[in-house]
Amino acid sequence: MSDLYDEIRDVAAQYPVRRSAVLPALRLAQDHYGWLPPQAFRDVAEALELTPAYCQSVASFYDMFHLEPVGRCLIEVCTNISCALVGAQAVLEQFENELGITAGQTTADGEFTLRTVECAGGCGWGTVVAIDHRYREHVKADDVGGILSELRGAEPVGVGRGPGVSEDGAVGDGAA
């Protein structure tokens, strides 16, 4: 508990004004609790000398903060237009079918939260699926089963390839 306080105070020291550390502090608190329960806002507020209400107000503005519990592994499917044009919806539906939940929900065993996100920034290599914020690109509906068994079998964090880096690790189609 007091560790979180100290971590937040350390981060805050980087900024000319302490309040600037609200986002990093909320992120630290989210790492600590897994999501942002009311106590997390009290903790951040105490460390940054703000009010819990203020911290909650800020957190609720941003999509990456979870004001409700999430699963141990967060699966995010980009359904913005570039991904959508190359089949994001099919990928999403495959996840929904295999997990037995709809986007926005968490599996009963608390393992997976599935959600749709706005453009993830991998448009040329759609469909982009982020697993705990590690990107998988060129994902097709057929890949979903494999991804899930990999996640179920091992540590939940995928390695994540770089933008446009293909399966074999070669620098991808981007000729940049």
Partner: protein, 731 residues
Amino acid sequence: MSGVDLVTVTIDERELRVPKGSGMVEAALAAGIEIPVFCYEPRLGPPVGACRMCLCEVEGIPKPQAACTLTAQDGMVLRTAATSALAKDGQEAVLEFILLNHPLDCPDCDKGGECPLQDLTFRYGPGSTRMHFSKRTFDKPIPISPLIALDRERCILCYRCTRFSEGVSEDGQLVALERGADSFIATFEDEPYRAHFSGNVVELCPVGALTSTAYRFKARPWEIQNVPTVCGQCPVGCNTWISTREGKVVRILSRNHPEVDEGWICDKGRFAYGHLDAEDRISEPLRRIRRHGFEPVTFAEAAQETARALRAAGSSVAVAFSGTETVEEAEAMARIAREALGSDRAILPDDPHPALDAWRAPLSAIRNAEVCLVLGDHPVIERAPAVDLWLRSARRAGAEIITVGPTGSVQTLPGSAPAVAAELASGSVPEELREASRRLRKATRVALVWSEDDPTGGRPIAALASALRLGDGSGVYWIPSTPNGRGVAAAWHAAGAGRETTPPPPEAELGALIVSGDRAAADPVVLALAERADFVLTSAMFMSQVAGWSHILWPGSAYLERAGTTVNLEGRPQRQHPAVGGPEFHELALLAAIGAHLGLAVDAWPSFESSDEHAPLPARGKAVPVPVTPTPMPAGSEEGLALVTYESLFSGLSVERTPTLAFQLTEAEVELARADALAGGISTGDTVVVSSNGSATELRARINQRLKTGVVRIPADHAHGLGQRVEVRKP
């Protein structure tokens, strides 16, 4: 007008000369042109241009501009919807968007009849709606505190309320949650909006989204009377409007005195009128019958019996004041005691040092200060809430705020204020004050605030002001402990023709004692006097031990029920006007009748007419040099923690009798410095035992990062029996 740069702007084809940089909404208004606004409210800080209601055309700019964000520049040509199709299109678009999700439930909305949205829709709005989808819906009015209800469907997200909370009172309690069309206003989880100024958001809301629970469904604007008066709850004296319906107070609104309150009033001033109708109020004059309690007496009998007793007591009479009397009442009592009976014995709750008048300045001058120095152990916000707002506003305007005290920016032990003032005045300061001393001496506009009880009436701060040779741009603000302590002291001294005031002797017999007001009646010193006095007259609203000892008990009036003058902490005399009736005969009428029996002419009614004008501040007094009295700094000690207590704003008879304010009462809490808490293994929320001198009490701990290490703070109502040094430990 020298120094003001005038520029020419054209609004709707009318040329105007206005000061450069002045707001275009105001400039237009001065020319009689209305630019509709919602989010714009200059008192909330720089314009945010959020609602877009004020869109106007500016020559040379293709897109319509938010007029609220524009300032007058020479040659600017502005067109409102009255003369510009572009502006009209913008205005209509925005109004349509605002009404899109509004429930249009004017018939059962408290704001109806005084609602800017209703008025603007009436004037410019679309006649029908083109939105046929379901509107945003929320749970119907939810209380965000026992005082305030929020109807989210009506909210137009102008963010006035949250801007107040974040940027004016800086309480950070009322916020917007979520984003975009999902945004809504809320407090943290289900916790109430608990802050000193919460009620102002009700007045700020331009629609009926935030309403007062007490006023809800009570009256239509055209069914109420509004009486201008001055708040009597603290020494600031904010200007207010009292709305009454059928002889009852139904709400209190601000009457914006720009020099005193800038249109903000605290929750005590706004909501604590519940005590007027309290069931335990003393409602008629009473006479004590030995052992058998009280029986009613007539007005004439009460006056006659009191006069007889006073005459018998002669110079052995003493008056105990509350500081809540009007100047006229205090003057009547002072003349009865001093002129008619020749007694100089009084207990004055406040007695300011006369030299302070030389640095009199309006509260609004605090905002212009370069440096504000606040000295004393009493939190300013608890004692004179509006002063806290002025200080915050000064800080936002760039002033440096130096607070010296247990929670100050310069941290001192409790009781250090006189010593610190003396050090700063003499210029020989310890390391931690060196910077403050340097800034104070360098600045030309200084505000000194004294928030400390001391028997000298603020002599140390006067000596500091004197040493700093404060000039015209500076002011000294001495905060009395009672609303009209200043006016009462002045009235008492005026009646004495230069004679010294002597406190009633603690041992000797007393012929008669006049106990004026509930505050005096609650004072243990007064109780001790009452027990020894041959005759006691008490005038109070509520029963107390002292009242029980009284021979004649007179029903006191509340400040909302009477006419009279009060002098606020600035030294500004202001008029109170009765909003509702109260007791049949007021204190002044009784005093006039007593005076008549004693051969003294006292007016039964103050000699001024009712008016809603803002009172001016009298000129400064002549500067008299005040020498510095060297004062020792309180010594620290190895053992235990130093205790500092304070009286919360939300305490006292009126708050206790207003059920909706109960949640504002201070919690049974002890504040600890972080280091002390860590040392004791204590976290916020833990129950701890605070003990001293053999008495102990259990309180909830809260870490206050601004508290000096080695000091703990407890609200006075929870610190009974504790001495100056305490131990705090987990049970």
